[in-house]
Subunit: 337 residues, 2 copies
DNA sequence: CTGAAAGCGCTTACAG
DNA sequence: CTGAAAGCGCTTACAG
């Protein structure tokens, strides 16, 4: 595996390391190196199968051209799609993206952050988990370039890219109300992250505006026990004597499990109960009637986050970093119409 | 961002860099360093917020504890799930996984391989794209630790982990035959990769064994034009005068688009046409009748691949690497029963 | 028990 | 137009 180094080429050609480095990294502008020498260097580099060692380069330069991306669950299509766009965008600027997974665990997020710092990433893109404020705060204090994605902490002063969750949820709930629903239930995670709370507020306020304020019914599902908690809630909701005619699912994973659970009980969508959910879910194409959904601009979220981060990385030396908050609009899609 | 280095700690405590390094990397066994000095070092490291610089460590040690994973499409759940398990397994051995995407493009695979080599990954895990033999071959010639996943090239002598695609396809086709299908169509990619060809052979042989050899009908879909090609094929198959009573989809993406296309034409599954596909697809839970599928042992594929790769990395110096080929069994699932 | 020194492969002022 | 030299932060033989 031991390959050719700049030194090997320099020795062979009897020139200095500096000259070889200059030529090979394309910095021999303004006739710094004579044409013949330059050509000879390039030719031998090719011949000797020279591969630059970016580790050495990073050490010397003080940056690694690497971005650390920490997502909550890479096997969730929202995040894998996000990762895809982030990588595409980062590549344009010559950055490599290292992805890891926390599985919504605080312990893991701490480990992952340390690992990335040790590997000298130039900046962080993080989908933070519940209770991870202190680790994010630490990064901010250490002036590490950082952009939060999809979620944020009001107490932590840093840039983030999210959607307007309150509005998205408000409009989604309104769609159910417009369709005549009177008893609308929200399925959400048992989670204190603000974006989740905002989705709850949007739901509550929509009910209030419609004079349905006495009837909120929120089912809080544990992420780690999603399947059983959902089944239990669905059982309760559709037990004799209960009446539910609309459900809003606050995330794609919740809607996936929820709709499945409802179907197993032979409850008809939308006849028995109307549904709206967050995120486009291809699976719902196979239902007899499409389910309206809140579409998040995933590509844009990813691109903007990368742009913000790179700005920070570039500006690092100079002024104190300006905090930028991007709240993008999500759009309600209703294929019924 | 400029942090504390070993040197800073050494200077502060007036000991040598060597001593600090030894203590901080936990190599002060056998009373190499006195207890008091060690404790002082650990305390100041904590106080000064010391973060080891793995870039420097990698340069010095000649390895980066990093594995490069190249997949064909991270937004495809088969690959994102695979990535998830690979990361989990690699983490156990202290390796970080860097993931990138080729989107089935040969050009990209070349770029990605070079990028990873420049970043000094210790080994490669690759889902190779069509026509990428030469780049894989190059890696083999350069003795770079490497394990191919999901796909392989007969002409390239290297380790790989795949499933028994021929058998899986044979059995899937047989299931259709057992259910009484006489006119069975295979939807596959227009692609010369052996695993795809094996899926085709399995289908052909199953027909032959059943005396249906005159009736093979293979629809080859272009990956880059999946939607239109599938719609066109479905149109042809279900035009007047044609008869099709069974379809085998050779990949999960094909089945996703295919089933959707069939449903749009109001063709009933399984009454009008019976279907079997590769890979579990959660979306199909929402169909009135479940679709039988070939279940690949994704976790096992990922784990075995990591294990094989780490063996190679560890053995690197010594003997010529033994080539290991793992052909795992896939299982046919039929929830109808 | 501890220190001085070399070196991993690169880049970049500096000197000529 | 080109070279000699220092240094990024770490580890590890070697010497004491």
């Amino acid at each position: 595996m031991k390959g050719t180094s700049i030194k090997d080429i320099a020795k062979k050609l009897e020139v200095s390391n500096a000259t070889v480095s200059l030529v090979l990294s394309g910095k021999d502008k303004d006739g710094r190196v004579s044409k013949e020498v330059a050509e000879k260097i390039i030719a031998t580099a090719k011949m000797m199968n020279y591969q630059p060692n970016n580790i050495a380069r990073s050490l010397r330069m003080g940056h690694s051209q690497t971005i650390g991306l920490i997502v909550a669950d890479i096997s969730n299509s929202f995040f894998s799609t996000l990762a895809f766009y982030i990588q595409e965008e980062a590549e344009k600027y010559g950055y490599t993206v290292i992805i890891t997974n926390t599985n919504e665990s605080v312990d893991k997020i701490e480990t992952m952050i340390n690992m990335f710092r040790n590997r000298q990433v130039d900046g962080f893109l993080i989908v933070p988990t519940e209770y991870s404020e202190e680790y994010i705060q630490k990064l901010v204090e250490d002036h590490v370039p950082l952009v939060l994605i999809d979620r944020y902490f009001p107490s932590v002063q840093c840039s983030y890219v999210v959607i307007d969750n309150y509005r998205a949820s408000l409009e989604a709930t309104r769609l159910l109300i417009e369709q005549g629903c009177k008893d609308i239930v929200l399925f959400t995670y048992k989670n204190l992250l603000p974006h989740i709370l905002e989705r709850k507020s949007g739901y509550m306020d929509a009910l209030a505006y419609a004079g349905l304020a006495e009837k909120p019914c929120v089912k809080e599902i544990r992420y780690s026990h999603i399947s059983e908690d959902i089944d239990k809630s669905v059982d309760e909701l559709f037990a004799d004597g209960c009446k539910v005619d609309g459900i809003l699912f606050a995330t794609n994973s919740l809607s996936m499990y929820g709709v499945r659970s409802i179907m197993r009980k032979n409850i008809a969508i939308p006849n028995d109960v109307k549904i709206v959910c967050f995120d486009k879910n291809e699976a719902f194409d196979f239902l007899p009637t499409p389910i309206p959904y809140v579409l998040q601009p995933i590509a844009e979220i990813g691109q903007k986050a990368v742009n913000l981060l790179i700005e920070q990385i570039k500006a690092k030396q100079n002024a104190p970093k300006a905090i930028q908050i991007l709240k993008l609009a999500a759009t309600l899609h209703n294929d019924l119409l």
